[in-house]
């Protein structure tokens, strides 16, 4: 029986870095604001806390991978993020890497 803490630790290591990729990929498909993006990520099995996601969005924006527009149609103004061309390019690069890893894992003999 595996120790749950051990599983959690290895899972965390495996998932580290996938959040940015998931955000960029989702926002390339449909632009969205932070809170709804958390919901979309959760639906896909990416559990991301608000205190991680919002600083991440801002960082990706500063890196030129995301762009945003203010949505002022409701009482509370919201930043609606969309993946910038540079972000789309990065997604395709990272996705190719990810696929290579998946293929490599599939090629390995299963225990």
């Amino acid at each position: 029986m595996l120790d749950p803490d051990l599983i959690a630790q290895h899972r965390q290591e495996l998932r580290r870095g996938t959040t940015s990729l998931a955000c960029l990929a989702l926002l390339a498909a449909t632009p969205d604001y932070g809170y709804r993006l958390i919901g979309r990520l959760a639906d896909l099995g990416f559990e991301v806390e608000a205190n991680t996601l919002y600083p991440l969005l801002r960082r990706l924006d500063k890196q030129g991978l995301l762009s945003f527009e203010w949505d002022t149609s409701e009482a509370r103004p919201r930043k609606v993020y969309a993946t910038a061309p540079a972000g789309i390019e990065l997604v395709s690069l990272l996705r190719a890497d990810w696929n290579r890893l998946t293929e490599a894992l599939d090629r390995m003999d299963r225990p």
Binding site: Y33, G34, Y35, E49, A50, N51, T52, Y54, P55, L57, R58, R59, R76, P77, R78, K79
Partner: protein
């Protein structure tokens, strides 16, 4: 002021001026959306706000995340360089302080309790300062976004420590033999061929002649044991922990044999000093100062020898 206002203020106060309005709008959006969602799900407004802010966590942590600030003093890139430098400096500086401070106290003519106190306190203070300032510099480098490769050399195999030989070296043994021989000769010499005489031609040795009833012969025996042990070790070729224990016993015995007459004020020959008229009015030094100084040197050598032989014995295991 609502809880949210206080939370936003607490977060923004940790951020640079030019980031604040940007982060504030995003933060209010994030909190507002999450609170609304909970209220729609039937949570009372006040409770919803509390829950959301609790989940957002420590504002200082959130601000650090926004500003890309590290939440550690010295990170893994610099930790080893920091540790090596700190340990190296402590090894160099503290022994020097531990010698200089008592020397200064002794020159000032302080009592042994005062000297002990200032030595322990002063060495400790210097150590604390040293660790503090080295840490401060490294913490500044860590935050200065300097690349570790600019400050530290990359590790290569050339930095592997030498595999030190566990065997007994001829140099060590020769050193021990020479020191013991010189000390023995000096002890006998000062008694048989004293460099000062009284007016009627009686010799005045440097050490109190009454010590020959027990202390000096005992010292010669202790040195004889040390000599035999050193030669036996050389023939055996390697150190053992038993060598170390014997070394501790010999050193403790040697220090004790010097300490007893020093405490009793009968290590140096008072008659000799009376004859040569020193110490005179021109100096603050007393004969007792000289005796305690001798004891301090003997004790320091003994401590060094115990530490050194422990390392050698441990290496051989």
């Amino acid at each position: 002021m609502t809880l949210t206002d206080r939370y936003v203020t607490a977060t923004l106060s940790r951020l640079a001026e030019d980031q604040r309005s940007d982060v504030e709008s995003q933060l209010r959006e994030a909190i507002g959306d999450a609170v609304d969602d909970r209220i729609d799900a039937g949570v009372p407004a006040g409770q919803a706000e509390r829950d959301v802010l609790n989940e957002m966590g420590d504002p200082e942590r959130l601000a650090a995340s926004y500003a890309d600030r590290s939440l550690f003093l010295i990170g893994p890139e610099y930790f080893l360089a920091w540790k090596r430098l700190t340990v190296l400096l402590l090894w160099i500086v503290l022994p020097i302080m531990a010698v200089l401070i008592p020397l200064g106290g002794w020159i000032d003519g302080d009592g042994w309790a005062t000297i002990l106190g200032t030595t322990v306190g002063g060495t400790l203070t210097v150590g604390v300062h040293l660790v503090f300032w080295v840490t401060l510099v490294f913490a500044a480098i860590e935050r200065g976004r300097v690349k570790a490769s600019d400050v530290t050399e990359p590790w290569t195999v050339d930095r592997l420590p030498e595999q030190r030989d566990a065997t007994v070296t001829w140099g060590d043994t020769a050193g021990t033999v020479v020191v013991i021989a010189l000390t023995t000769v000096a002890l006998v010499w000062q008694q048989l061929w004293p460099w000062a005489r009284t007016a009627d031609g009686e010799g005045l040795p440097l050490l109190d002649p009454s010590l020959w009833t027990f202390v000096l012969p005992a010292l010669l025996v202790v040195m004889g044991i040390e000599l035999a042990a050193a030669i036996a070790r050389q023939m055996r070729g390697h150190w053992t922990m038993r060598d170390w224990w014997l070394n501790v016993a010999v050193n403790v015995a040697g220090v004790a044999l010097v300490a007893v007459p020093v405490v009793g004020g009968e290590w140096l020959n008072r008659e000799l000093f009376a004859e040569i008229g020193w110490p005179d009015a021109a100096t603050d030094l007393t004969i007792a100062n000289l005796e305690w100084g001798t004891l301090a040197i003997v004790a320091a050598v003994a401590v060094w020898d115990i530490v050194d032989s422990y390392r050698k014995a441990r290496r051989a295991r």
